[in-house]
Amino acid sequence: METAEKQYTFKDFASDQEVRWCPGCDDYVILRAMQKALPELGVRKEDVVFISGIGCSSRFPYYMDTYGMHSIHGRAPAIASGVKLANPDLSVWVITGDGDAMAIGGNHFIHLLRRNLDINIVLFNNEIYGLTKGQFSPTSTVGQRTKSSPYGNIQPPFLPGELAIGAQARFFARVGGNTPKEMTEVFVEAAKFKGTSLVEVLQNCPIFNNGAFAKYTDKAVRADKQLFVEHGKPMIFGKERNKGLVLNGLKLEVVTIGENGITEEDLLVHDAQMQDPTLHQMLVRSEYPLVTGIIRGFPDITFEERAADKTEKVKRDSNFHKTDDLFFSGETYEVD
């Protein structure tokens, strides 16, 4: 990827289109965080491609002054894979929602993660279908009342991170939809990561599922309910910065520094780069605290690198340089 000569600002990435999400939607926060993250990456604007599926989130590419495609429901990971394989020098982003990625597009979503192309996925999780006006989604909670579950949802939800890591995701991060600074940081790290990165944004839908994440994301409770993990740092949270996580057998346990002789040294130190995802899965599943930040970032060979290696080797060993070499090779015969 070539480096931009120009120092961009967020304005360079805003298209001339009027943004049409509902007032108060976290999508605005995500858009701005992305427009701020891209200048930090130093990539050329013309090398950036956003591919989206269908849903509220998927209108995103129209608002970015880069290359973009608003495609069809669930298929953005497949289309983005083609873009990346055609031109590995591009910075390719998939913009998707919980329905788009995990219901209709579940298959493409898991296979992109498995293959590990260097593509960044931003998953706007609002635990509801917004654009179709309020049906439950694959991340809606059991009991959630929606237009299509008037007596309460009976389908157990996916946890996006759990599904992703199960599909061999090398990079998974989670951020609240109302924390733009953290979000920008995570977008920058996701983009820098070589391989498929998945950033789940807990995105509040003010119309159909208002307050779905409030118990974790409200300013008043955020510090006490969320643990923002950072690689190499102890897992501390709480307003007083006195709570932490330890491993007790096969369970995570919340402890308080200063109680029962616990000191900061006793806390788990976050290792995002471990290949073994066991602890990462436990962090994904933890409800108290809700873990945000880059939970997993295990560096691995990418699909493009494997493909390039193969192609290079075949090219080196082959006598076929032009198609004529192939067409006229082997069992041919002359007719006079």
Binding site: E46, V49, Y67, M69, I79, A80, G82, Y333
Partner: protein, 618 residues
């Protein structure tokens, strides 16, 4: 067995049809391929027809597990694998039972008597042994204990297990057939050397068995005749035998090289299209990128992405796969990006008859998408011209910036024929519409005035950043537009763009008669069978019967109506229930069309075509 050499007569023939039939594990496809390749190298014109079950190794001896391979060779032009066979090689009772009907009366049948056991006869549902009950009295039956003779031939070869020994009995049969038709064994022996490289025992064994069969036939007085089929008169040049699917893959390779673009294939395995994926996956040395995707939708999805980013993008499939791709194909049409979709048609509907041929996806290709969603539809008509039409599909999609569906079918995709090799330098130029520099007043949906094609601005090009999508677009900027007049305008422009392709495709040709009594109309893979039938009528002195075969279906050639009106009667022949004829009826009011339809998973037979044509001629 007698060792006394008797004088056997030698007879010259214009053409011969041989069919090999046996269990799906008996190597009939390989045996047939060897016979056709050897004959082609000798200089015959050839056509082949593999006919095999969907099961990989169906239960031995069963009727439904029979695998057949038919070869038609000639010193004259050969355009079909032939209806009836001059020689049937039946490796077991089931192979005999399912293929006997095709053998010409009085003609030859070679059987492996060792396979005619009580058990195998029972599996083939014979109540008595046909070799003993007189039911084969009308044929020249050549009974050979092939399995025992093969074992005998190999008794001194070391390092062979029992299975390898019995499996090579197909080469005994091939050796006999080679002797009967004066064929050289050289090509097949070279083939063993390559196929079994590093396994000298297998090379030795197969060569020995092939020779044993050859010498056995030579010394056996049971075979009264041997035959010669002289080389055919074909345009001079360098040839090779090519299968339709390989020719399709190579057409794409040639188009990529000519256009200067990289080739991207996104595909999901499906019978009978998978061979195109297999072939293109081999050619990384040309920089081909092939992605075996997680499903049909990801196959086309990745191809759309690659096309957006500037590759020559292809996706390959068969009927059910085209159904899965239809939404994404609509997107490609809406985006106005180049994309080639190959549908190697098979028997439908649903899973249908995966290994059998049919032409029943035509209306799906034409209309199988939501909304007003026209695309270019073309069809190859012979194994060899799959090359030309794959190339043509690329040329059209790149120059007109709209998806192209290329229809082939199981019959031409798996069939093989001589191909006069085309150098890329002989192929027409392809001018893609990629723009590399920003122009001041450029708009993503500006169009060329002649073709109505838009420019192809690919990511990585500074100053041309733009967004596309499946929502209706403003006619110039490509931004989302719900303006009613704009939607109608765009709908019409997309249709007009396809119509304009008429100016870039050749006129419809008529063969045998320019005007007259009956026009035989076909499209796609039925060309060879229709050609042979009309030719036979013409050479038997029936005049006024013409053949118009379509390769371009959407749009139709400009002169279509004019051609149709030159004949008193028109019969549209299709391997479906009447799909192309419905398109013709819709387009050409006041012309009456007769039909000949066959939906049996099989190609047309010569006799049935001629019978129908004669009925229509009255």
């Amino acid at each position: 067995m007698t060792t006394v050499k008797t004088k056997q007569s030698e007879q010259a023939l214009e053409a011969v049809v041989v069919r090999f039939a046996g269990d799906s594990g008996d190597g009939m496809q390989l045996t047939g391929t060897q016979f056709s390749d050897t004959s082609a190298m000798f200089g015959n014109d050839v056509a082949t027809f593999p006919n095999y079950p969907a099961e990989i190794r169906a239960p031995q001896g069963s009727l439904y597990g029979v695998s057949g391979f038919q070869v038609h060779i000639g010193s004259v032009e050969i355009s079909t694998p032939g209806d009836n066979v001059d020689l049937l090689v039946a490796m077991n009772p089931a192979g005999l039972k399912t293929n006997l009907h095709a053998v010409k009366a009085g003609h030859g049948i070679i059987v492996d008597t060792d396979a005619f056991t009580h058990k195998n006869l029972e599996k083939a549902q014979y109540s008595s042994n046909p070799l003993e009950d007189g039911s084969l009295d009308g044929y020249q039956v050549i009974e050979v204990s092939m399995t025992s003779l093969t074992k005998e031939a190999l008794k001194d070869v070391e390092g062979l297990d029992n299975k390898s020994i019995t499996r090579s009995k197909n080469m005994f049969a091939l050796g006999m057939v080679y002797w009967m038709y004066h064929r050289s064994r050289e090509h097949t022996i070279d083939f063993f050397k390559k196929k079994f490289k590093g396994k000298p025992a297998l090379i030795e064994a197969n060569t020995k068995v092939l020779n044993a069969g050859f010498y056995f036939a030579e010394t056996l007085e049971l075979i009264p005749n041997s035959y010669t089929v002289a080389p055919a008169k074909m345009p001079s040049g360098k040839y090779r035998i090519i299968m339709g699917n390989t020719a399709t893959a190579w057409g794409f390779l040639a188009a990529a090289e000519k256009s200067g673009l990289e080739l991207f294939l996104g595909s999901y395995p499906i019978t009978p299209a998978s061979d195109i994926l297999h072939e293109l996956a081999k050619h990384k040395h040309f920089g081909v990128k092939s992605l075996q995707a997680e499903d049909e939708i990801a196959g086309i999805g990745s191809a759309i992405g690659a096309s957006f980013a500037g590759d020559l993008a292809i996706t390959t499939t068969s009927g059910p796969g085209l159904a899965l791709k239809s939404e994404a194909l609509g997107l490609a049409m809406m985006l106005e990006l180049p994309l080639v979709v190959v549908d190697v048609q098979r028997g439908g509907p649903s899973t249908g008859l995966p290994t059998k041929t049919e032409q029943s996806d035509l209306l799906q290709a034409m209309y199988g998408r939501n909304g007003e969603s026209p695309v270019i539809v073309i069809a190859a008509s012979t194994p060899a011209n799959c090359f030309n039409f794959a190339y043509e599909a690329c040329k059209l999609t790149l120059e007109h910036m709209t998806p192209v569906i290329l229809l082939t079918d199981g019959y031409i995709a798996n069939g093989s024929a001589p191909w006069k090799i085309k150098s890329v330098s002989e192929m027409p130029d392809i001018k893609h519409r990629i723009i590399r520099e920003a122009k001041n007043t450029w708009h993503p949906y500006e169009r060329d005035k002649d073709t109505l094609a838009r420019d192809w601005a690919v990511p990585g090009t500074a100053g041309l950043e733009h967004r596309v999508g499946g929502l209706e677009k403003d006619k110039l900027s490509g931004q989302v537009s719900y303006v009613p007049e704009n939607h109608e305008h765009m709908t019409q422009v997309r249709a007009e763009k396809i119509k304009k392709v008429q100016n870039y495709i050749p006129d419809l040709e008529v063969k045998f008669a320019e005007e007259g009594e009956l026009l035989v109309v076909g499209w796609g893979g039925t060309y060879g069978t229709l050609y042979a039938a009309v030719k036979e009528l013409a050479s038997s002195g029936v005049s006024g019967v013409g053949l118009a075969h379509f390769n371009y279906i959407n749009p139709l050639p400009k002169n279509t109506e004019e051609v149709l009106r030159r004949f008193k009667k028109i019969v549209v022949c299709e391997l479906n229930n009447g799909q192309f004829v419905s398109i013709l009826r819709m387009n050409f009011n006041g012309i009456s069309f007769e039909q000949f339809n066959k939906v049996q998973g099989l190609p047309f037979g010569n006799a049935e075509l001629i019978k129908r044509f004669k009925e229509l001629l009255g």
